[in-house]
Amino acid sequence: MSQISRRDFLKLYAALAASAAFSGAPRLLSSALSNNGGKPNILIFVFDSMSARHLSLYGYGRMTTPNLEKFAERASVYHNHYSSANFTTPGTASMLTGMHPWTHRALNFRGMIDRTLADRNLFNLVGNEYTHLAFTQNFWADILLSQFNADLDSHFPCDLYGQARKSLFQPDDLPGDRSIAYYVFQDFLSLRLHDPSSFPGSLFIGSAELGIDITSDNKANISADYPRGLPTVYDFSYENADVFSGVNDLIQSELPRSSPSLAYFHFWSPHGPYNPRKEFIGIFDDDLKWHSKPRHPLAADNFPQEHMRQKHLEFDEAIAEVDAEFGRVISDLEKSGVLQNSYVIVTSDHGELFERGEIGHASALMYAPVTHIPLLISAPGQAARSDFHSLTSIEDLVPTILQITGREIPDWVEGRLLPGFGGTEDTSRSLFPMVAKDNATYQPLKHGTFAMIKGAHELFYFTGYPKHPDSFELYNLQEDPDELQDLFSKDITTASKMKDELLAAIDTANRNFQKK
């Protein structure tokens, strides 16, 4: 990493002071950085499934994120940041390409970005000047990263910091074919132990994995430190302390010698099964207000209220652990000086839902807890907090990072510059989160849930579900943040306007996929 001289420091300080006086602190920090001469590092921390609705940072009733709040004191905080989808594949693809799911087409479980668009990724766009590092514990995100392999200098395996791997083969065993290797090994040849309907394509691999699972001591995962068992990602378990320490070490060793770097770290936690260390279990001994919501006809399950309430609590505990680990890493990085010339971005790929009979994400339901995600960006040397309340999208990261790194923003990018980084707070903006996981990738969108968020309102359009007629729901997120009062048949004007806009947007997206 380049050393900052006293003169550079004074220039930086002067620029900071001047820009803080005239406009937003982040913008000034950005310009101050360019005076430094060196390009900044970009560190992206993605916490899988971390719903903004569960963070005390955003006013949640439980103190889940004291460390994020501390971090926010010197960051830009986006209060109405939304994912483009309700599960990893489309959300992460949007984050890394700046495109909406109906454009990048990573719509399905284990989906991939349209092969002709795979070079439209953040790593490619920031150019070779940057060293590109990527690590994710999430297999589905790793499929996407595998599509970008040609643009990555280091692409680490998902189980880099994992324990007790159960599958015999992992996609990185085939580095040249890594994205398709997911389909070969994980989707086909292997036995998916958690899925009783799994039919392994290889009798030998399937039998061996089943044998390993039967003979291994699964109870070993449960220990005094992990009363609920270790956190698990399908085939391997891990300890957050190991993963965060590993990432910390990686940053400390890589950044000084490969600056500027664009580093993407996608952590599995707080994604289910919500198994934090013992010190985080039972920390919320409270009586949080709980809204009982009737089961939705399209909910994937029908969990009883008490079970959902319990899982809701366990999720909060998992978030608290992630927050503590993140706080530890940031503190270490600050002490080591690595962050002097680094932007740190904290966000998620989607949220999590504990209502209407359902626990988790990736179903037909797109209520705010599963799409409303955190976004914090701390610029080098930023000393004050900036809050932004306008609607922002997961797709906005790409143009914003390109702006930070001084690169041109291509026309095809569908995200916008974030406020504070050259963008404006646009109150008329519409966002279109969606889930179409059962829709054929290259067919017009006819099966899924399409949402539209505009101002305070959120409209849902459920279409193509068997035995469920197409329907709409409308909520006012400001007056009814729990989405309990469906206004679709009451606020006719808003409903009609939003419905027309949403259907027109879907129609436009479908044009390229209609049969000619």
């Binding site: 719509l107 399905n108 284990r110 989906g111 991939m112 092969r115 085939l174 040249g176 074919d177 398709i180 290797a181 389909y183 070969v184 989707d187 086909f188 040849l189 036995l191 009783p196 309907s197 799994s198 039919f199 392994p200 394509g201 290889s202 009798l203 030998f204 691999i205 399937g206 039998s207 089943l210 039967i214 059962d438 829709n439 054929a440 990738t441």
Partner: protein, 172 residues
């Protein structure tokens, strides 16, 4: 040592049983997955997945055959090499059938896993021991293994071509 091996025609007949059973399983699994892949993957990618699966299948079939040939070398000829087609084919069916039961039962009830495994193994063990003594069983196995050889005219070239494709992808 080669003299302890069965005749090539006999090996081919037993290999046909192994290859057909294993590839039958893999192709069935492939056809089950195909509709979901058609949603997300293009034809070239589906072909690549199929290639990897069939190459894995090829390796597995060679492993089973190798085990049988090692048994031929290791055991006294009257125990295994004589009547190799019948005994080899029955043992192959026992091994592969047990694995099928083992994995297949996982799909229904994990608690019955070992039961299925032992049931099939026991049954096949009995058949193996007495198979040459039952004329009907012997002739049935001989007849089936002889007919299955025809599938090798498709499977073996397929294995070779797809292995070449997989090797090429990983070298290139």
């Amino acid at each position: 040592m080669l003299k302890r091996l069965p005749k090539s025609q006999e090996i081919l007949q037993v290999y046909a049983v192994i290859a057909v059973m294993l590839s039958g399983w893999t192709i069935t699994a492939f056809l089950r997955k195909l509709p979901s892949w058609l949603l997300t993957l293009n034809i070239g990618e589906i072909f690549t997945v199929f290639s990897y699966a069939m190459v894995t299948n090829f390796i597995e079939s060679l492993i089973v055959l190798l085990l049988l040939l090692l048994a031929c070398i290791a055991l006294p000829s009257h125990l295994f090499r004589d009547k190799f087609v019948v005994r080899g084919a029955v043992l192959s069916i026992a091994i592969i059938g047990s694995l099928m039961m083992f994995v297949g039962l996982h799909m229904q009830s994990a608690s019955r896993l070992w039961l299925g495994f032992f049931e099939v193994s026991l049954l096949m063990g009995v058949f193996l021991g007495f198979s040459p003594k039952f004329r009907f069983l012997s002739s049935a196995v001989l007849w089936i293994s002889d007919r299955l050889v025809v599938f090798l005219f498709v499977l073996l070239p397929l294995y070779v071509i797809l292995s070449g494709y997989v090797i090429f992808r990983n070298i290139a």
